[in-house]
């Protein structure tokens, strides 16, 4: 059985030999053109003139296109309000304003200075505080309310009030936004895009150009990383390439440089969350009031859903008997912020983890003790603020096991002794958790479809709406199909994602790729299996001869044939012990005119969150995890090292433990980067100055925790998902917060009893300035 084994990634050989093909690796066609994008010169204002005439005179320039050239210049996943190319109003600096079609990138670099964009500048809004003051609200969400918060807060023995603030984060997928549009015959266009959402890309391209959806096919072979950055924001770049292809009737390639990509595309939302928390002498939270503010940037994009998820995760792993959780997103003159692994969840979760750390410092207790005390219970204290019961809750055993396995108490004592030495180094230790809700909170997105084609040699091609961005979703589906038919996983080939095979698909997002699409693959395989079992039964048990080719009666699904099993490339009737090779059965099925294609539709069952009452089953299940991080600070410079991290994750029964552990370590380090070195630095005028790896620092190989243990908890209780697995993509990112709370813990040793107050990311500078405050 392939499921449960750590088979290697289905593209592994291609990746290590450089033969995997990404968008910009596609061979250049003779008549192909390069599409360069020019951005807005100011943060806010109106475009008064775009003059491309000088550029048009240069040899190798074939066209300069603006908003005026696009039949329908609007897009947006939730609200179609965003221009593909800015028309008059400028939403943010470097927002795409016009595209140049030219011979090659070199020509573009030469002529881009010749494009004259004039604008009437206005004063931009550049921060959450400013936006709140100017009432620049992008959207609001209904609050989650339980109990009487104000009353309880008044009566609480202790209260703490403050604001948790975290910065945005650049996705830094290695492959920047890229797309090629090929004009086909009869007005059709084939778009190859580095997109997490081929269906939306197809729709946006078609809509922009005034084509029918059926005239556009979007194909995604793979992405060089996505992390949410290509969920919504691949689409308008595809539309720009589509526009050029449509206008010139030539293949059009758009591949942004890293600098342009970072300046033009949205990022993780910065948040500022104001809170008041009440607690007793032991640290048990009695009431929590939170006002969440997300910086949506210039356009709506996916912000409302991200805000929702931040609210859904503001409880962290902790039961809140009385709570009031309110959310608003503000509109600013910055790149339109978008999906990023965790999708608001990390910002909500970290707020609560920060509060818990503060309670511990305030009470001069250890933060693990406070966490353990407030953790969701198994039989009681197990209902979320939105009234969903946390079923099969593993958090208590997860926290306890990690506490023990990581030697928490012993190390805490060692750290205390170490810090007393005052040798210029300061250490801290902290554990945080994750209880991540799995399902799109937009209910209708929880659907997928799959096509499974069995070939007569016993090998299989599978196509789904899932897109491969490195996370191994294709490998997992390969394993699911192989397990269903009892064949080696190498006999299953995952085909490029294409909207002509799988349409009306959801983005590969919300960690749900393998859940939804794997569910559909499983159903398609089940359909095929029932047909094949019936053929086997007819051949062996109904007296039909192998060599008598005649049309069989249609499949009778009321007959229970589950005793016919598919194992080791054989088909075996466990009752009669009769068997035949899988391949031979396929041949018989074919000769007897049975379809060897399976197509299935899957939707996540039983979701029922009511947006009006803010109550109900928002999630199919929760993926849980916890991490303990130990950090060391250089007291002269504020430099931070992560000495050790131990992670324990609950992933149900993993389909591929090797791939999942890679997801855990990758997500953790990405989360760690967000809370430490990844600082989006803007000029006071609003321009992003950190727009390349020289100026924006994602973790490097030396930053990975010196000791890094990742373990998976054994858990067979998740019956709500394919093969009893659990989703893995986003949840471990939340655990990066443990590094940040460990910094707080370290600072507490020097803060002279004060509750340390730092923002995220905790850069060297943030840390040193806080240390300096204690002097």
């Amino acid at each position: 059985m392939s499921v449960g084994k750590s088979v290697h990634h289905d593209s592994a050989i291609g990746h290590v030999t450089g033969t995997s093909v990404f968008i910009d690796d596609r061979p250049r066609l003779k008549n192909e053109v390069f599409v360069g994008v020019i951005g807005a010169p100011v943060c806010a204002g109106k475009i008064t003139k775009i003059d491309g005439s000088a550029a048009m005179k240069v040899d190798g320039v074939f066209g300069v296109f603006t908003a005026h050239d696009i039949p329908h210049n609007n897009w947006g996943t939730i609200v179609p309000e965003q221009p593909i190319l800015a028309f008059e109003k400028i939403g943010y600096i470097d927002e795409p304003v016009c595209v140049i079609a030219c011979r090659d990138e070199e020509t573009f670099n030469k002529v881009k200075k010749l494009i004259k964009i004039e604008a009437k500048e206005e004063k931009p809004i550049l921060s959450i505080d400013e936006a709140i003051e100017k009432k620049s609200i992008l959207c609001e969400a209904k609050p989650f309310v339980r109990g009487n918060v104000d009353e309880v807060l008044k009566k609480s023995p202790h209260t703490l009030k403050g604001a948790f603030e975290c910065g945005g984060q650049e996705h830094f997928y290695m492959e920047s936004q890229a797309t090629i549009a090929y004009p086909l015959e009869n007005g059709q266009i084939e778009v190859h895009s580095s997109s997490q959402h081929p269906t939306e890309t197809q729709h946006v391209v078609a809509h922009a150009l005034g084509l029918d959806y059926s005239q556009v096919v979007c194909i995604v072979k793979r992405m060089g990383g996505g992390f949410g950055g290509k969920e919504s924001q691949a689409a308008h770049f595809a539309a720009m390439a589509g526009l050029v292809a449509y206008k010139l009737n030539r293949p059009a390639r758009l591949a942004l440089t890293k600098d342009d990509d970072m300046m033009m595309t949205g990022k993780r939302h910065p948040f500022k969350n104001f809170y008041e928390v009440g607690f007793d002498d032991n640290g048990l939270v009695t009431a929590l009031k939170v006002h969440i503010y997300a910086n949506g940037g210039a356009y709506v994009d996916l912000t409302p859903s991200i805000l929702d998820r931040a609210m859904f995760h503001a409880d962290g792993c902790y039961y809140l008997e009385n709570c009031y959780i309110e959310g608003k997103a503000v509109r600013t003159h910055q790149h339109s912020n978008t999906a990023f692994r965790g999708f608001g969840g990390p910002q909500g979760n970290m707020t609560m983890e920060s509060i818990i750390e503060d309670i511990a410092h305030y009470l001069k207790k250890d933060s693990f003790e406070i966490r353990r005390l407030n953790l969701y219970g198994k039989e009681s204290r197990n209902v979320t603020p939105y009234n969903q019961v946390v079923e099969h809750n593993v958090l208590p055993e997860l926290f306890d096991k990690l506490h023990k396995d990581s030697d928490y108490e012993k190390r805490k004592a060692e750290i205390k002794a170490f810090n007393e030495k005052k040798n210029g180094k300061l250490r801290g230790l902290s554990m945080t958790g994750a209880k991540f809700g799995i399902a799109f909170t937009t209910k209708f997105l929880n659907q997928g479809n799959a096509l499974v084609n069995i070939h007569l040699d016993g090998t299989i091609q599978v196509s789904t709406g899932a897109t491969e961005m490195g996370q191994g979703v294709n490998t997992k589906m390969q394993q699911i199909a192989a397990t269903c038919f009892g064949i080696p996983h190498t006999n299953v080939v995952m085909m490029p994602t294409s909207t002509e095979k799988n349409h009306n698909t959801s983005p590969t997002a919300a960690s749900s790729g393998a859940d939804i699409n794997g569910g559909a693959v499983f159903k398609a395989c089940e359909d095929l299996l029932s047909r094949l079992r019936w053929v086997f039964n007819e051949l062996h048990n109904s007296g039909i001869q192998y060599d008598t080719i005649k049309t069989m009666p249609p499949v009778d699904l009321s007959v229970d044939l589950s005793h016919i099993e598919f194992v080791d490339s054989m088909v075996v009737d466990t009752k009669t012990k009769k068997s035949m090779a899988f391949k031979d059965l396929l041949k018989q099925a074919y000769l007897n005119q049975f379809s060897l294609a399976g197509y299935a539709f899957y939707k996540t069952p039983d979701l029922g969150f009511d947006k009006n009452t803010c109550q109900g089953r928002a999630f199919n299940y929760f993926t849980n995890g916890a991490a303990v991080s130990e950090v060391e600070i250089d007291e002269y410079t504020g430099e931070l090292k992560v000495l050790r991290t131990d992670i324990l994750m609950d992933l149900g029964r993993p389909i591929n433990p090797g791939i999942d552990i890679g997801q855990v370590s990758g997500a953790f380090v990405q989360g760690m980067g967000w809370v430490t070195t990844e600082n989006l630095f803007y000029h006071e005028s609003g321009k992003l100055l950190a727009h390349s790896p020289t100026t924006y620092k994602i973790p490097n190989i030396q930053d990975t925790p010196r000791v890094f243990n990742v373990e998976l908890l054994e858990n067979h209780t998740n019956t709500r998902n394919v093969m009893r697995s659990k989703a893995v993509g986003e949840p471990p990112l939340l655990l990066g917060a443990s590094v940040w709370t460990a910094v707080k813990n370290a600072l507490f040793y020097r803060s002279k009893g004060e509750v340390p107050h730092i923002t995220s990311p905790a850069t060297n500078e943030v840390i040193l300035m806080e240390l300096n405050r204690y002097e």
């Binding site: 450089g18 670099n109 990383g225 002269y636 620092k697 990975t704 500078e765 300035m769």
Partner: protein, 485 residues
Amino acid sequence: MKTTNTITTKINDQRVEIKGENAFMTLGNFLRNEESLTGTKIVCAEGDCGACTVLIAKDVDASGKLEFKSVNSCILPLYLIDGAQVVTVEGIGKNVGMNIDLHEVQQKMIDHNGAQCGYCTPGFICAMAGAVEKVKSCGGTLSEKKAKNFLTGNLCRCTGYQPIIDAATSIDLNKVELLKDRYHSPEWISEMKTIKSQTVEMKFTDKSIFLPATLKEALKKKSEKNDVRLIAGSTDIGVVVNKGKLDTPDTMALYHIDELNVISHDDQFINVGATVTLTEFEDYVEKHFPEMSRLLRIFASPQIKNQGTVVGNVVNASPIADTIPFLMVSDAIVELESTSGKREVVLPKFYVGYKKLDIKADEIVTRVKIPVLAKNEKTRLYKVSMRKDLDISAVTFAARIVFDGKKMTKVSIALGGVAATVMRLSDIEAKLTGKDFSEKIFHEAAASLDQYIKPLSDLRASKEYRMLVAGNYFKKFALEIGGEL
């Protein structure tokens, strides 16, 4: 002296000749666009992510075989690989048609799930293969520490690096057939020597390339054409050109000049020629002056160090350059040469203002002479940046003190990142000279710093932070030195 107008190289064992303006292309773009070798990826185009890493051999090692080193192909112009042999990710395994026989590093990356999205993977494979070439040739092993150092120049956004570290440390060196053996060809090595002994001159309507074979030719060119752009490793110029901030119409690369590619020492000085790379410098001092090499560990990635030069770092004159503070407190000397003769300038005097040097229009910096550290000296070099490794400094600090017992007979202190140039703190030096060492006087010096420096705020740090760190470095230095006295 023979002059040609062709760049000759070998890419994955195929001989390639480049004529015409393509010689200005970067190796990365050439591989992808002209050779259809799209395994090499271009991500940042500034030598800071490693996705474009390939191996090049410009020289032979002690065994007479090609010495393959990792470089960033995105900032390497083709004219700098004249006579070099290139191996890309496509040439790491043994490929026959569509059939691939994997190299050990490739196999281990697969076994340990070292590749997720796959975009950084070819760069990692090449950097790892480069590590294996060096480590196995020296008879060592690829420890975790070494593996991380060799892979410092490669960013990965998917794996969190742990699977890659696991892959690297599980490599069985016995199973590795070294590229220098697989691609060994005495004919090519002899041709390589011939190519490098030739002068290359390529002229186009609006630009030209000149690769003189001798210093004499180079000096003549510089005196005739003062504004010719000098190139050593191109690790800095390559970035500026890629970002559209500089055009290099007339270029002279020093790379064929043997006499500039020499590092040597005598009783007084280590002499570092203009084209000696940072790797060569590091290896040399590690062998001859180990205490000095410790100071240089914080510098850049292997890819940059394999291409960039010490002299390049000096003449680029950045206020946040990593070698300058150290060279400045060492009283290093810059040697300049023109057709009319040689002269020497001591380093602090070489810097006149922001990126302004004491250099005449017809002069070339031929070498840097670094005084050898004496036994009674204490030297430290500190650097802080946003990220510990592979990052540009926010503040640098270097101090060198000559002791006579407890008495400080000579004090040299330099700070970088706090002014338009790296600066020596001569007033503080004067105050400390002749005094007995104590932590207290360094704390006093730290407190007086605001009289001498006025740092600026930028994206790397605020002026307040820079001020604070500069002072703290005095305290740190005093604490460390105090412990050793």
